[in-house]
């Protein structure tokens, strides 16, 4: 690393930072595009179909339909970019960025591997080093910004479907956020810190999912609601409101919105893994080292990404009143009970 830094006339810290930015941006981004393929092939598997398998490299290699990702990208890239006259142009263009940014930024705090020492310097495998004071409050704050993306897209489109989708989605995301924060607070109590490195440290020997199973259920449900995935995809709800907030979007803008949903899914899975499944920890291995810890993190991450897809093709969509009832009358009391129970438990133990 120092040699390369010297060659590029950069300080090793800067080079390390740039490398981490590329990993944290490129990793979820690549994973998200792969997931669009996994989603369709997985859906086909679950529904006993074949799924996309026509796209082929140079008309020869089909590779299980993997070239479909590239084909979709090229298609969106070459499509006519239509901005209808009835939209608010500035907001219409900014909305995809506002959807994309919160999805990408959430990953910055997640430790995706064990910190290591090289040449007397400690390298932390998370974009933000520990001790920044924000800890897991940061993804919570960024996560709640996602609602602006949906809302600005919906409002600027000036389309009835869009506005219906946007209103539904914003009320939904806001309703589930409280239960989610309460579940995370219970984690903070056990770890005694906001910092994800310390939260993972506190999970040595016992992952949070076992003592806080109720919290895990609430948090995961809320993550489905926050990412607008089925059974909570009221923002799109293609059988009811055409494509919801995406109705007026096309070409590359649509591709970005579509991809943000998957990036959001990756970030949500990373949060679940960090908070409840010990992050990069490997069971029964005290000190897994860099490669094993990154691998463990990836395996857990991919499992939860698959869970998102699996549930989408298993459960039907809720009705809107059911969604609100579940959020306010079931999830909120449950996560409150979980919080109170653990508060008293911690207090009794001293």
């Amino acid at each position: 690393m120092p040699t390369l830094a010297h060659l590029l006339h950069l300080s090793p810290e800067t080079l390390w930072m740039v490398a981490k930015v590329l990993i944290v941006f490129g990793g979820p981004f690549t994973l998200a595009s792969l997931l669009t393929w996994v989603e369709r092939r997985g859906a086909a598997m679950i529904q006993d179909r074949i799924g996309p398998n026509r796209a082929a490299l140079f008309g020869k290699w089909r590779l299980l339909g993997l070239p479909q990702i590239a084909a979709d990208g090229i298609k969106a890239f070459l499509k006519e970019d239509l901005v209808p006259p009835h939209v608010n142009k500035l907001v219409f263009w900014v909305a995809p960025l506002l959807t994309f940014l919160p999805a990408v930024m959430g990953f910055a705090i997640i430790p995706f591997g064990q910190s290591f020492v090289s040449g007397g310097q400690t390298y932390h495998l998370s974009l933000l080093d520990p001790g920044n004071g924000m800890g897991m409050l940061y993804p919570l704050a960024i996560g709640s910004m996602a609602v602006y993306g949906v809302l600005t897209a919906a409002w600027s489109s000036n389309n009835k479907w869009s506005i219906l989708g946007g209103m539904r989605a914003s009320a939904q995301m806001v309703s589930y956020e409280i239960a989610m924060s309460l579940a995370v607070i219970t984690i903070f109590m056990r770890a005694g810190a906001y910092d994800p490195h310390q939260i993972i440290q506190a999970q040595w020997g016992l992952w949070n999912v076992l003592p806080q199973f109720l919290g895990f259920l609430v948090f995961t449900t809320c993550m489905f609601a926050e990412t607008n995935r089925l059974p909570f995809d009221f923002a799109e709800g293609e059988a009811e409101i055409v494509a919801g907030y995406l109705t007026e979007y096309g070409s590359m803008k649509f591709a970005l919105m579509y991809l943000s949903e998957y990036v959001h899914m990756v970030t949500a899975s990373a949060l679940i893994v960090t908070l409840y499944f010990g992050g990069w920890r490997v069971p029964f291995v005290a000190d897994p080292g860099v490669w094993l810890s990154v691998l463990a993190f990836l395996v857990k991450l991919l499992f939860f990404c698959w869970l998102f897809i699996w549930i989408r093709w298993t459960l039907p969509r809720f009705r809107y009143d059911q969604l609100m009832k579940l959020g306010w009358k079931v999830m909120l009391p449950l996560s409150m009970a979980n919080f109170l129970f653990h508060a008293f438990l911690m207090f009794k133990r001293g």
């Binding site: 970019d81 239509l82 209808p84 009835h86 000036n158 506005i163 956020e177 607070i185 007026e248």
Partner: protein, 117 residues
Amino acid sequence: MPSYAPILLLILVAIALPVVIWNTSRLLRPSWPSAAKASTYECGIVTVSEAREKFTVRYYLVAVMFLVFDVETVFLMPWAIQMKELAVFGLVEIGIFLFLLLFGYGYIWSKGALTWE
């Protein structure tokens, strides 16, 4: 002093990539606008009225309730990591706070503010 520079860099990259892609694709993509394409995507019939209309008050009610409960979670967060130091005093304080809040929660439930029809 922790550095937030990585976040700034991440934001810049995340904004730059779509902007670059949009502008490159502008060189390649076709543009044949027509009156039909420019109309609102609805149901085929000529669009009636603006889309930005009045909305049911329930959405606003949800926003207000969210504000109340979100402030509650914000108060709980500092206590959660200080609970051992604050001991009994903190527990009693937070207990009173939560009691008031849960009372309010029961009240809005009984008033039917949580029910959608």
